[in-house]
Symmetry: C2
């Protein structure tokens, strides 16, 4: 991939002077159109070898366009808040909102490549990283992001020359350190690993552009033109009303012909008597409290997810978990309508932001599964968006799990009759009136559609690392004991692994 | 203050059992009303001696109320992202939005008290901290927050007994460490320093409630009742349409009778020829670039603020600063309408969140001064709100400055005629049409009111640590050179101090 960027691309100063004014003006214009359009972010990755002009190019882009609408992020060593979470957390934090341009210096590619070059990881690790990156970029692209990835290249001979030149000029000597020469020593290996990585990640929705970095005029115009063309093409497509990517008909699960599924199979008559409930609840709460204090728990996080029909008892079950824990250790995130900052980001962003640090719990009262439940049934999300959510969610949970996350997902199942009884009861009870709204009655009319969506969701997203626990919830006592017991079992297994 | 909390307050188990159910139900009810009301946050500070039941009480509050609408934050050692910013940054981050209850364990009181107890600070430092805390809480209260501060107290004898009891029970022994006994050794000093601090900070808008911590039933009911009553009273006041705190007539500055002020004094005919501009600009940009690379710069941050009438040339001046800097080192924050997450917080929250780390620049294109400019003139803010903003802003800037912040504030002044010329020009130029809107023409009609507000703002907020630099901006070249020169001067002075 790099050969074409070693042929000595050049642009004469005269040529550059001729091109520059219109290119700048056009870029600025298009930047404002992207901002006014406001439906997609532009994500620009700047990577490549040292001394190839990455920094200079980014500075120029900031100078040519309106820097107030560019978010430039340089990823140095992660902070301790970042180190404690899955590696992608810091990139999610830095994503530009819709309508803005984000320039990322050093990106999700840096660590996998560098670690492999210096043999701190195995080839299999690199392949896994590449796979994850493809999924991540696919998600961004599906979500509408325009992704441009630039790789600044220099031939070995030119890089040596360039580093020496920088070093001998007192103006620029400060930019060159021991580390740069350490990198130069492994040039060949770096070449190989990056080329492999680029080849594997140069995909239709996020292709790489390799830029020869030796001539400042050439590289500037190359990057600026590519950016301009890409933004223009995207705006034109948006104006035409870009066709939504198609969903394969095979992606639609039909309901089993016998109408039986995991949910209809449940025995909802299971119950626990009050006395036994009280003993058992206390026992499990005590168990959870002890497990949480176990020294090995500090290497883990718990991410608990509660889903279920309205009035299924999610709140009550959550409070029984909270009751066993120190309030400093958990955070409960009730999922309501997204804020406007959340709406300007990819769907999972608003869940990523609450990912706990080690030793902590985050309990989501409703969750990212809303995408394939309420948003699917009520048609708030397009079919394309909710179908792709299955894969995105699995990726997300896998990342949480690899970071020590114990993911416990509950579906609380009640019968339609039991829901009716609870709605009526809530309307009568002073303390519970706030819990019942016209919307609840409306949703109830869609009971079957919700059940079908839930059954499909469970089928598609129950993985070994993040299995669903189905809870027969007609009896509240039975429900709470089962919820707590399942949580304890999962935590116990994780810390004794 | 503590004597009354050493008399052995107790509540019998029977009494407690009688009170508890209604108290819980009422608290839950009122919590939902606060949430539905949505106009103010409830901030609960939990402080006091060890072993006095702080943790247990917070857990109970979370159990009794709906923990999904409580944000509990425990402040442990600051993370590196926090350490790099002014000390209050971490508390701003943790403030609950309107409608929610925030329980803060360990708060802005912890460090000042502990540092003083162990004599790592002088008495004068404590007094200064107390002063800052008063201002901060005053701001929160003025902004509508309901603030409750609980201090859990134990007599020396009871604390010793309690620590021993915890230590000898295998169930709770893990909670007691060497550190707890270290603290116990300085009990008397701790008593003295905290009592002083509490006395100085028990103010009408944020009073302390001292709670005797030895009896679990008593302390729980004491805290729960206080919280319940305070929320009820606030809701009742809100329902009556709480009278806005009054602004003293003396707070209103009248315009000087001769109509001369700092702005009318400026000589707007000053200009620089193009050739000299180009030389001078390059010189100052180079100077800024070198200053930024100075090793001592890494102990500082630059916070630059641009204010001025529409079309005064803020964007152009900002781009000349950006042009001198590495894009990784600055962030430009254009101030537009607040997002809904920002609207749910005190006014300065949306500026605090962008405070830079050491070695970085944040450039605000319009700023917190909007409160006393556009929000004042257009009456978006009540008089009470914009008048108190002067003092709040001075506090904010003082905190930035103490953290190594170099605060450079520019007012770009143009004449009314020059503004007209620029508006007309913008309407004609393709690239600049986006810059001119109907609103700009509307604001122009209020020219005099804006000028008066600006003159007053400059008079009230030009401090030695954060002076305003007035820029005669009719000539763009003159303006940009003066902006850059002033910035360089300030940075130079700071790093050679």
């Amino acid at each position: 991939m790099f050969e074409a960027a070693e042929i000595g691309h050049k642009l004469s100063k005269g040529e550059y002077k001729r091109i520059e004014p219109a290119l700048r003006a056009d870029l600025l214009d298009v930047q404002y159109e992207v901002s006014k359009n406001g439906t997609f972010p532009v994500i620009v990755l700047i990577s490549g070898v040292r001394g190839a002009g990455k920094g200079e190019t980014v500075n120029l882009l900031n100078e040519w366009m309106d820097p107030r609408h560019i978010h430039t992020h340089a990823f140095d060593n992660p902070t301790d808040e970042e180190r404690d979470r899955p590696p992608m957390w810091r990139y999610w934090r830095a994503l530009p909102p819709k309508g803005k341009i984000g320039i990322l210096f050093g990106s999700w590619y840096t660590a996998p490549i560098i670690e492999r070059v210096f043999k701190r990881t195995r080839r299999a690790d690199l392949i896994q990283s590449i796979d994850e990156i493809r999924h991540f970029e696919r998600m961004l692209s599906d979500d509408g992001a325009l992704i441009l990835k630039f790789w600044f290249h220099l031939s070995k001979r030119r890089q040596r020359k360039r580093l020496k030149a920088l070093q001998s000029d007192p103006e620029t000597a400060w930019r060159i350190s021991e580390r740069d020469w350490d990198f130069f020593k492994v040039y060949d290996r770096f070449y190989q690993v990056s080329e492999d990585t680029l080849r594997e990640t140069s995909v239709a929705w996020a292709p790489w552009t390799v830029v020869e970095g030796s001539d400042p005029e050439y590289r500037t115009v190359a990057v600026a033109r590519a950016l301009l063309e890409a933004m223009r093409a995207r705006l034109a497509a948006a104006a035409r009303g870009q066709p939504q990517s198609k969903v394969s008909e095979a992606a639609r699960l039909t309901r089993p012909v016998d109408k039986r599924d995991l949910l209809t199979q449940l025995d909802l008559t299971q119950a626990v008597a009050k006395k036994r409930y009280e003993t058992e609840l206390r026992k499990q709460q005590r168990r959870l409290s002890l497990l949480t204090r176990h020294p090995k728990f500090r290497e883990h996080t718990v991410i608990a997810v509660f889903e279920g029909m309205d009035a299924a008892g999610k709140g009550g079950a959550i409070r029984r978990i909270a009751g066993a824990l120190d309030a400093r250790l958990y955070r409960i995130i009730p999922i309501a309508a997204p804020t406007d900052e959340e709406r300007a980001q990819p769907y999972l962003w608003r869940f990523w932001r609450h990912v706990p640090m080690k030793g902590r719990y985050t309990i989501y009262d409703r969750s990212w599964y809303g995408r394939v439940l309420v948003e699917r049934v009520e048609k708030f999300a397009s079919e394309f968006d909710w179908v792709r959510a299955y894969a995105e969610i699995n990726d997300f949970e896998e990342q949480l799990s690899r970071n020590g996350g114990i993911i416990v997902k509950y579906w609380l199942q009640i019968s339609k009759e039991e829901q009716y009884r609870r709605f009526k009861e809530r309307e009568k009870t002073r303390h519970k009136q706030f819990k019942i709204t016209a919307e609840d009655w409306r949703n109830r009319k869609q009971w079957d559609a919700y059940q079908r969506a839930a059954a499909e969701m469970i089928e598609r997203t129950s993985t070994s690392i993040a299995p669903w626990t189905l809870i027969e919830a007609n009896d509240k006592y039975f429900c709470r004991v089962k919820v707590l017991t399942a949580l304890c079992d999962r935590v116990e297994r994780a810390i004794s692994a």
